[in-house]
């Protein structure tokens, strides 16, 4: 039903006014996409526009954005001149090392769990548990695991004869790896499920043909499974890069402050602290806009590369 000049127009009215089936269909279609479009406008486009606007102002939190004073490119200049910002960006990219590691492990585990063995459903549940577990609880567990004095990792290393095992939580060279290991472990479950779904979508006939040709497991995996799983891998990389660029909770919960020598300090932590703790929402918006541009460019590159791969 559509409103025109205060009068309800019903389906018979439309018929009387001569709208054909295609026009009516299109009308319903537009009506249906209007709802997500409005959502996108309210929750994505307007906030993004406000962020871009705010990034050119000295907007302090607590004040209406309408009253914020324009400062031109000052926030961007400050951001580019801030060593801590570059360090946070470097750390954020460093964390993305976890993406290929996570993909490789989940692909192998998915392949192992997709062979029709007896307890594979149990394993799937076990690997999925971290995904639905509270990140706070997981962080606490990992803090204990990596505790330099009494953690099981160092206890294990000591029992193997390592007299001076690493200070995982206090040494700037190790702290990022603690976060990476935890993030990879937590994310494995969802990647495995997606890979298994992808593997089950591959037609058996390809494998049968390969078998006839005498291909071994590795050849089959490399030449059939891997290429046909590319859409899943592509999806996981894109979402991984987007998620990785927004890394906040794990390092913040795991370490006091920004970790030793700011080693666990990420761009989103920088953004959050500047905006809320230091009330510099204009600067925080500049960081957010710059980060959004980076993510957009990275995603674009991935789409291009994926497109070339398809060809």
């Amino acid at each position: 039903m559509q409103q025109t000049a205060g009068k309800a127009v019903t389906a018979p009215d439309l018929r009387q006014r001569g709208l054909n089936y295609r026009q009516k269909d299109a009308l319903w279609g537009y009506g249906m996409i209007l709802i997500p479009l409005i959502g996108m406008l309210i929750f994505i486009l307007i906030p993004f526009g406000m962020s871009v606007y705010a990034s050119f102002t000295s907007w302090p939190m607590g004040q209406s954005i309408a009253k914020a004073k324009m400062v031109g490119l000052k926030n961007y200049v400050d951001m580019f001149n801030n060593k801590l910002f570059w360090q946070s960006l470097g750390n954020t990219f460093y964390y993305m090392i976890g993406i290929p590691i996570g993909l490789a492990i989940s692909l192998l585990l998915a392949a192992a769990m997709n062979r029709g063995t007896r307890y594979e459903k149990v394993f799937r549940v076990v690997y999925y548990v971290p995904v639905i577990s509270s990140v706070v609880a997981i962080t606490f567990v990992f803090q204990q695991i990596f505790n330099s004095d009494v953690g099981i990792i160092n206890e294990g290393l000591r029992s193997l004869g390592v007299s001076d095992p690493p200070n995982w939580m206090s040494h700037a060279g190790y702290t990022k790896w603690v976060v990476i290991i935890m993030a990879v472990w937590k994310g494995l479950g969802s990647s495995i499920i997606l890979y298994i779904a992808g593997m089950q979508g591959i037609s058996r006939s390809y494998y049968e043909a390969a078998q006839v040709d005498g291909a071994n497991w590795w050849q089959t995996f490399r030449s059939i499974t891997l290429p046909l799983l590319m859409p899943v891998t592509f999806y996981l990389i894109v979402t991984g890069v987007i998620g990785g660029s927004q890394m906040y909770v794990e390092p913040r919960l795991m370490f006091t402050g920004n970790g030793p020598n700011n080693s666990t300090f990420t761009t989103v932590i920088h953004l959050y602290d500047r905006t809320f703790a230091n009330s510099k929402a204009g600067y925080g918006s500049a960081v957010a806009v710059f980060l959004a541009i980076i993510v957009f460019v990275l995603t674009l590159i991935q789409f291009r590369l994926n497109g070339k791969g398809d060809k």
Binding site: S58, P60, N261, N262, A277, N278
Partner: protein, 488 residues
């Protein structure tokens, strides 16, 4: 039948909703949002219950965690502020300029506030016309006027009695770590204090299993919270008088910081790589000296007096103590040292939202929490804070033995100004010059004095302070510019 059932259910639901709404409408309600430790929360809940009864109102008391300030900023920006919330002393101008807080002068008889510590009350005054803080209208009432002293676990001192007495005999320490017969506090120099901490670092086999380890340390301090008294004790400061210059590379600042790191250097401190914090160590009876805020004493007292876990105060017996001072004062007598030590004093206030629908009730609440003698007595006796009322703090708080700890005069001396220095981070528009300008590279200094590989370039105090000076100054300049940009 189904229709009848559905109708009945609907009627039930609507009537419940109506009753609930009607009940809620009965009494005026204010939302109060604060942060507090568990023991403080319990105290406030008792006080608020009484306030509700006396004023026939509902106080929706919400306690946030360590994200209190960011959450408050977000709610203020969204125009959804609680009726009563905390006002940081560094935020008064900003809150007034953004019309976030209402002046209490409009709702209270301010002449009744004369009994509050004037230094604390002045922190919440601002004159918009002259842009002067400390004058004009009152935008908040102190929730507390707090002090952070050193605290000592006397149980550890008793266990190390022989070693301490030997150090006194050897001339390493000038006196025993307790108040002398003339009421003088044991004020040590940096070197003396470091040596005392070293003496108190030992394996204590008598500690209960719950301590987690038998290793006891002299102390376990960290710069963010504990360095300031060392800087002030050396006669230095973080900022110049008008807060336009950072003084990190000044000789006095470096001397104080070196005094702080001396404890690490001699091996009297927990290590930077320890994953048990100093606070937890202190609560477990594994630290002899530790900072103590006025809000901490309730929690400390609870452990001290718990006979089931701490029989005969065998491993936890706390008292407050002064901070150490410059080695320059080594030749001074204990009497001459009394006015040389300095600790941090600070405040946070109750303010009322300019958007509050019940500003009178909100102001009444702020007044009751801040200036009601009964409330102040209750909170101080429970170890939540010092009395906000000068007469009470300088009178019954010191003379009545139902207050604790024993050496609470240390706190009062700090508030009286002789041994207190206002927290520096709230003296500027933002504290990035400190948090980002100073605190971010401290691992390098620990690495140098602990002689340990922490994955950073080790730096001594002077090198570090000189390396960060320019950036910190730039951040302070930015803060000043930010303030100017926001001026209405």
């Amino acid at each position: 039948m189904k229709k009848l059932l559905a109708l009945l259910l609907t009627v039930c639901l609507l009537s419940t909703l109506w009753v609930a709404l009607a009940a809620a409408d009965d009494k005026p309600t204010i939302v109060v949002n604060t942060f507090a430790q568990e023991h403080e929360k319990a105290m406030y809940e008792e006080v608020i219950k009484k306030f509700e009864e006396e004023n026939n109102c509902i106080v929706d008391f919400r306690v946030s965690g360590d994200q209190y300030w960011p959450e408050l900023e977000a709610s203020l920006t969204a125009g959804n502020a609680p009726d009563v919330f905390y006002l940081g002393v560094g935020d008064v101008r900003k809150r007034v300029w953004t019309n976030a807080v209402a002046p209490l002068d409009d709702y209270l008889d301010v002449s009744t506030l004369g009994s509050i510590w004037p230094e604390a009350l002045n922190l919440y005054k601002y004159d918009e016309e002259t842009n002067k803080l400390g004058e004009g209208k009152i935008y908040g009432l102190p929730k507390d006027f707090s002090a952070v002293s050193m605290t000592v676990n006397k149980a550890i001192i008793r266990k190390r009695d022989a070693e301490i007495r030997q150090a006194i005999a050897d001339g390493i320490l000038p006196f025993y770590p307790e108040i002398d017969e003339n009421g003088n506090l044991p004020v040590y120099t940096f070197t003396e204090f470091a040596n005392l901490c070293k003496i108190c670092t030992f394996e204590d086999e008598t500690l209960p299993e719950t301590a987690g380890s038998k290793q006891v340390y002299g102390t376990h301090l960290w710069e963010d919270f504990c360095l300031k008294p060392f800087i002030w004790g050396a006669g230095g400061d973080y900022l110049n008088e008008d807060c336009t210059e950072v003084l990190f590379s000044s000789d006095k600042f470096i001397e104080g910081y070196e005094g702080f790191m001396k404890i690490v250097e001699v091996g009297g401190s927990g290590s930077s790589t320890d994953e048990t914090s100093g606070y937890l160590k202190f609560l477990a009876g594994r630290c002899a000296f530790f900072p103590c805020g006025t809000w901490d004493v309730g929690a400390f007292q609870a452990i001290e007096t718990d006979e089931a876990v701490n029989p005969g105060k065998s491993w936890f017996d706390f008292d407050v103590a002064p901070w150490p001072i410059s080695d320059e004062y080594a030749s001074l007598s204990i009497e001459e040292r009394q006015d040389k030590w300095v600790g941090r004093i600070d405040s946070v206030g109750f303010c009322i939202s300019a958007q509050s629908k019940n500003p009178e009730l909100a102001a009444k609440f702020a007044y009751a929490m801040s200036a009601d003698p009964e409330v102040q007595r209750f909170l101080a006796k429970r170890g939540g804070q010092l009395p906000n009322l000068v007469d009470m703090a300088e009178g019954e708080y010191l003379t009545d033995d139902s207050y604790f700890p024993e050496t609470r005069v240390v706190f009062v001396k700090m508030l009286e100004g002789q041994n207190g220095h206002r927290e520096v981070s709230s003296m500027t528009w933002n504290d990035l010059w400190l948090t980002e300008g100073f605190n971010t590279g401290l691992t390098s200094v620990w690495s140098f004095y602990e002689k340990s590989d922490l994955g950073v370039t080790p730096m001594d105090v002077r090198t570090y302070c000189e390396s960060i000076q320019d950036n910190a100054q730039q951040l302070l300049n930015d803060a000043i510019d930010d303030m100017e940009a926001m001026k209405p």
